[in-house]
């Protein structure tokens, strides 16, 4: 069953809200581009993959109308089916404009649930990482700059509490308090983001399965921080690869 957050977001996509599409593309764009380039095996140029514009995606937003939760399709599968369909549309348009762009709706359904678009484990992991990054971005926007800087230095840069305290001219207990505040906020946001971008219960529980306990628990804090740092470093690598591919002529 889809949550209110998910249906609300999908509703905005269906209403062609450009900001919702931008949000979707900003969060999952690099993963989709990387997956499509991988499938293309070098046959699909970086330029074509980059050209999967928001408008092209928006034109396919009604794919969700045919989404049947009972068939167990995941959000990640739906996302990939749309992106792939857009890619074909783009190629169709370029290579044979007279044939008409796009494909029939029935074909999209087949892609949505068919073997061809079944995503692999690395793709699923990348989608999960993108969700964590989206949650962290939300927290960054909401937090006080100093507070988030403490979290960034301590968790993402791997500094000790003492180093952070010295650099920022605050006490170590203050570092701990601010760190805990950002961590708590991140847990709350993580639940929201996971719910928003999940079609199945299995997807919604992904965070806990990957060491990100969303219920505040002091014993899990270190593991939680470590998992976030690891994910963010991988995301950085993914985006760097995506940029390198885009820059390639």
């Amino acid at each position: 069953m889809l949550s209110d957050l998910t249906t609300g977001f999908i509703g905005r996509l269906r209403a062609r809200d450009p900001q919702a599409w931008f949000e979707l593309w900003e969060t999952f764009g690099p993963i989709l581009r990387s997956q499509l380039a991988k499938w293309g095996g070098g046959r699909i140029g970086a330029e074509t993959v980059q050209d999967l514009s928001q408008e092209t995606l928006a034109a396919l937003a009604d794919a969700i109308d045919r989404h049947d939760p009972d068939r167990g399709a995941r959000f990640s599968t739906w996302l990939l089916a749309i992106a792939k369909h857009s890619l074909y549309g783009e190629i169709d348009r370029r290579m044979a404009q007279k044939r008409g762009a796009g494909r029939a709706a029935g074909e999209l359904d087949e892609e949505l649930h068919g073997r061809e678009s079944a995503p692999d484990a690395p793709y699923e992991t990348a989608v999960f990482h993108a969700k964590v990054e989206a949650a962290l971005r939300l927290v960054e926007r909401e937090s006080d700059f100093l507070e988030f800087s403490v979290y960034r230095m301590r968790v993402l840069d791997g500094r000790t509490g003492r180093e952070v305290a010295e650099a920022l001219g605050i006490s170590e207990p203050t570092v701990s308090r601010r760190l805990a505040r950002v961590r708590d906020a991140l847990r709350v946001r993580l639940v929201e983001v996971m719910t928003k971008y999940s079609f199945t219960d299995d997807e919604a529980r992904e965070a806990e399965r990957n060491g990100l306990q969303t219920n505040p628990n002091k014993a899990d804090d270190a593991l939680f921080d470590e998992a976030v740092a690891e994910i963010m470093h991988r995301q950085q690598d993914l985006r760097a690869t995506d940029r390198a591919a885009a820059a390639r002529p």
């Binding site: 450009p18 900001q19 931008f22 900003e26 990054e133 962290l136 971005r137 960054e140 926007r141 006080d144 700059f145 100093l146 800087s149 960034r152 993402l156 840069d157 010295e166 650099a167 920022l168 001219g169 605050i170 006490s171 203050t174 963010m232 470093h233 995301q235 950085q236 985006r239 760097a240 995506d242 940029r243 390639r248 002529p249």
Partner: protein, 701 residues
């Protein structure tokens, strides 16, 4: 007993031997199956490799045939157009033919070399031809001379060309002729040895929107004194700027990193990099003070020479107070994603804080200086190379969310100066930066290149100061009990105060009235003081202007589809063109004065051209002109007055001459501007008839 032991041992040995044999057999089978699978994979790879070669050869053969057939189809079309004298159409089909021929050459290359090389596993060897070379060719400068030859621009001798950017214009390197040199010196202006001429020619592929956008950039460049001269003719628009030699910051950064090694910048290159960033911030601050938003801050738009960095490319410059809709123009990774979101929302430029978007760009440039890479992760990008902690802080603060970002380039510069000026930048703690200490006075502008001094070490405890900077959060930190008790106390006090407040309001307001009036008068006098407009001067078009340079009327209408004739609903008293040469500094008083001037004219029943984007259809319907004609008129009038201000009588005569050559429906021009920000605003009325000039003058006074 012995027999039993022998039996047990024998049985155990047999079992062990069986297990061992089974294990060996299992490993053997596994090895064989792995070998078979590997062999299968190898055969599969070979088959796929051959198939890729065959498919590539077939595909490219078909493409080659397609290109050749299409090219053959274009040939008669080109010939027919040449015979009919339709040279523009012939050029168009000629370009299409060129692209088909290029496609054929690519196919031939792939058939003869590319596919074969990849089949022989020599793919990396041909990468240079297939990837790097097209990029280099695409970035190569064009021909060394414009279509009109080396003397195509009067007063300047073209000596070469530069690679153009994305604005659609061509960049020519030129030197002033001896006459031009004398003319510039006589006018008391600096005469550079070399200049860059940015030229847009409709005949050479530039488009009308590009010219209009660049015209806005020109106005900005004029504000900053970067333009020596400009000209707009019926087919070409160009302007001349002093030439800034040097290499782009991306190349300079790569060189700095090559000197330092993979761990990051050494001390000296790090100081050089900080100097470049400081130069950039000084320039940005200058732009922002002039009310301008650069909008495309990135390494390739920064030129470095003699250890100094200079921001160039004015193609996207936008007045901060512009009423235009925000666009997503800019460069990914150096453009704040928030700006894209706002642009998608359809907000206006003046509704956003453009300064902060430039600050984001400056932060991204500083990141690229330190990392020799792009900030691919936006504000969450990791700084993994050698970098002082305080400098990391500056980068992150500049790229933070809008609410947490530096409010100005000057604030960021103040922080950077502290790190730059420290004997050991690695010893500077973020807590010592002025933006954290709260010493905003440290941010006073300093000329680029001067050595700033590091401030005294800050207090080690800045927690309270942070709290003071975030009152909202401090309130949140109050415990529920304390908050509740404060709330109760406040409510009781308010209840007690209510009757007193009521009495004061009833009895006191009337007595306060004169004070309010005085306050209003004071505000009003302040308004007059800020604008300080000089009385309007009047020029009437002379019936036979002699000895005055004439300006060819510009018409770009043939580029736009014919607009339906617009019938004015209320016949106006006359049509007035507002030539507004005042900078858009975002000054509310100046803005309100401008609005007042336009309102005065409209109240006197004049229809206005060039009076902003609001209610365009209605406004234009009254004038009887189309939007394209309005742009045309504004560009023509601006070309007529050049870089002068309304106090210049000679420029006013040029404007009058120009008006005389225009459509009779245009009755008058109101030209407003000032020589510099310290001077009063000048108003100049140029009209066809004395009576009209008098009416317009009355309306604006």
């Amino acid at each position: 007993m012995g027999g039993v032991i022998v039996f047990v041992v024998t049985a155990a040995a047999a079992l062990l031997a069986v297990a061992l044999a089974g294990y060996v057999l299992w490993k053997l089978l596994k090895g064989i199956s792995w070998g078979i699978a590997g062999l299968g994979r190898g055969i599969g790879w070979c088959v796929r490799h051959v198939f890729e070669l065959v498919a590539g050869l077939i595909g490219d053969s078909l493409r080659l045939a397609g290109h050749l057939l299409t090219a053959c189809a274009y040939l008669p079309v080109i010939a027919i157009n040449i015979l009919l004298g339709r040279m523009s159409a012939a050029n168009h089909y000629g370009s299409a033919l060129e692209s088909e021929v290029l496609g054929s050459v690519n196919c031939l290359y792939r058939l003869a070399i590319g596919h074969v090389a990849r089949f022989l596993l020599l793919g990396p060897m041909v990468e240079g031809f297939e990837r790097r070379m097209p990029d280099v060719i695409a970035r190569a400068p064009g021909p060394d001379r414009p279509s009109g030859g080396a003397n195509a621009f009067e007063g300047w001798k073209v000596t070469g060309s530069l690679a153009g950017g994305g604005s659609g214009g061509k960049l020519w390197l030129a030197e002033p002729t001896s006459e031009k040199r004398r003319e510039l010196i006589a006018a008391g202006r600096a005469c550079p040895e070399k200049v860059v001429i940015k030229s847009f020619s409709l005949e050479e592929g530039s488009t009308l929107p590009q010219i209009v956008r660049e015209n806005r950039a020109l106005a900005a460049a004029r504000e900053l004194g970067l333009v020596l001269e400009h000209e707009l003719t019926s087919s070409r628009f160009h302007y001349v700027m002093p030439y800034v030699p040097g290499e782009d910051l991306g190349t300079a950064t790569a060189r700095l990193h090559a000197r330092s090694g993979p761990m990051g910048l050494d001390d000296e290159p790090l100081r050089t990099a900080m100097g470049y960033a400081a130069d950039l911030l000084v320039t940005l601050d200058r732009f922002h003070r002039a009310g301008l938003w650069h909008k495309d801050v990135k390494p390739s738009n920064i030129l470095v020479a003699d250890g100094r960095a200079q921001l160039v490319d004015l193609g996207l410059i936008t007045p901060l107070a512009s009423a235009m809709t925000l666009t997503t123009h800019g460069t990914e990774y150096f453009r704040d994603p928030e700006m894209v979101k706002l642009a998608l929302k359809g907000v206006k430029v003046h509704e956003v804080d453009g300064v902060k978007f430039d600050v984001y760009g400056a932060g991204a440039v500083l990141y690229s200086l330190v990392e020799n890479s792009f900030p691919v992760h936006g504000s969450l990008s990791q700084l993994s190379r050698r970098c002082p902690e305080a400098l990391r802080w500056i980068v992150r603060r500049a790229m933070a969310d809008m609410a947490n970002r530096y409010a100005s380039a000057q604030e960021m510069l103040a922080d950077l100066r502290v790190v730059q000026g420290a004997p050991d930048p690695f010893r500077v703690r973020p807590a010592e930066l002025p933006s954290l200490v709260g010493g905003q006075d440290v941010a006073a502008p300093q000329p680029a290149g001067t050595t700033p001094t590091a401030p005294a070490t800050a207090s080690p405890r800045t927690t309270d100061r942070f709290a003071a900077r975030a009152p909202r959060r401090r309130l949140r930190r109050l415990s529920l009990g304390r908050g509740l008790s404060r709330g109760v106390l406040f409510s009781c006090a308010l209840l007690l105060m209510l009757p007193l407040l009521g009495t004061w309001f009833t009895l006191g307001v009337k007595s306060l009235h004169p004070a309010l009036v005085a306050l209003r008068d004071q505000a009003s006098s302040h308004k007059d003081q800020v604008v300080d407009a000089a009385p309007a001067k009047v020029d009437v078009v002379s019936p036979a202007p002699g000895g005055v340079q004439t300006y060819e009327p510009v018409s770009l209408d043939h580029l736009a589809p014919p607009a339906p004739a617009i019938q004015p609903r209320t016949p106006p008293l006359g049509v007035v063109l507002l030539l507004d040469d005042l900078p858009d500094t975002g000054d509310a008083m100046l803005g309100s004065w401008r609005t007042g001037l336009a309102d005065g004219l409209q109240l006197a029943r004049f229809a206005l051209l060039g009076a902003g984007a609001t209610q365009d259809d209605e406004r234009l319907a009254l004038t009887g002109f189309t939007a394209a004609q309005e742009i045309d008129l504004l560009a023509g009038a601006r070309a007529a007055v050049g870089l002068s201000d309304p106090s210049d009588g000679e420029a006013a005569r040029h404007l009058a001459t120009w008006l005389g050559a225009q459509d009779q429906r245009l009755d008058a021009i109101v030209w407003i501007g000032r020589a510099d920000p310290q001077q009063p605003v000048h108003k100049r009325v140029v009209a066809r008839k004395a009576e009209m000039a008098e009416r317009v003058t009355r309306a604006i006074e």
